[in-house]
Amino acid sequence: MSKHYRIVDHVAAPSDAEIARYRDFGKLVYNYERMTKPLYKRPLYKDPKAFIAILVIVLVAILIAEMKEKEPPPDKVPVENTK
């Protein structure tokens, strides 16, 4: 990757106030905690309430799948040949 240099009379540096606009320690710490800390302190399966909720969802999903299998297949409608 090439790099280009420009020789200029004066390189305008931002003022302290302008730089301070980009300084936000609170946001930095927030981003750091989001990056390093997991959403849940303990795994969901170790939380009794969450475990029961997940179990119920899985059982309902299995039940629905079973019921779908038992349903008779819909009558096949013959496809008309349009050619």
Partner: protein, 211 residues
């Protein structure tokens, strides 16, 4: 001829007491992210200016600077002093962040160099005395800009850190992960390459020397 830099230092020079204080801040920040605040306050401006020199855009620079501090906070448990000052470590992260940004975006990299810094570089590269009355005209500066553009990235990095950021050879070595003597030797070699390129009639040469 000793190679001294005229570039204003953008990293503060710390006294031993300040370094000791910094080490205590680092130890505290390892335990509690909130304790990183004094380090952030001390180095935000120098790192911002360092990045700004390389990316030009202030908003982008703000984002990259934030990323530098985020990465440094995350890597703080792995940071070991062992002779590498915290500021040099931050500088290294900033340099990598800028390089990664340009690698991802494949954009053209521009760097503005102030005339006094360019003139100082020409003086050292051409081994002139500082009171040499031969003028450094615009044309010579343009040649310098073109010559810098043709150097290898590792070579320009040395020149930038030494002459445009105003780091000492020790600090250049710390940032690039090489010994002070190696930083000095390589810089002299790059200056030699620049000297060849700046010599009258050298414009027609196709390639620059490589390390």
């Amino acid at each position: 001829m000793t190679v001294t830099s005229t570039a204003p230092r953008i990293l503060p020079v710390l006294l031993p007491a300040e370094i000791a204080q910094e080490e205590s801040w680092i130890a505290a920040a390892r335990r509690d992210p909130q304790a990183f605040a004094p380090l952030y306050e001390r180095y935000h401006k120098p790192i911002f200016l360092f990045v700004l020199k390389r990316v030009q855009d202030r908003d982008l620079c703000g984002d990259l600077t934030a990323q530098v501090f985020l990465k440094s906070m995350a890597a703080l448990p792995k940071y070991e002093g062992r002779g590498l000052p915290f500021k040099a470590w931050l500088y290294r992260i900033a340099l990598n962040e800028v390089l990664m940004h340009f690698r991802r975006n494949k954009g053209k990299q521009f760097m503005d160099v102030a005339e006094p810094q360019a003139a100082a570089l020409i003086t050292y590269a051409a081994e002139r005395d500082e009171d040499d009355d031969r003028s450094i005209d615009k044309e010579l500066m343009e040649r310098l800009a073109r010559a810098l553009g043709k150097l290898l990235p590792a070579q320009t990095m040395l020149i930038e850190l030494r002459f445009f950021d105003g780091l000492s050879f020790l600090e250049v070595g710390q940032v690039l992960g090489i010994a002070e003597a190696a930083a000095k030797m390589r810089t002299h070699r790059v200056l030699g390459t620049l000297r060849e390129y700046l010599a009258p009639g050298a414009g027609s040469r196709k390639s620059m020397g490589t390390e």
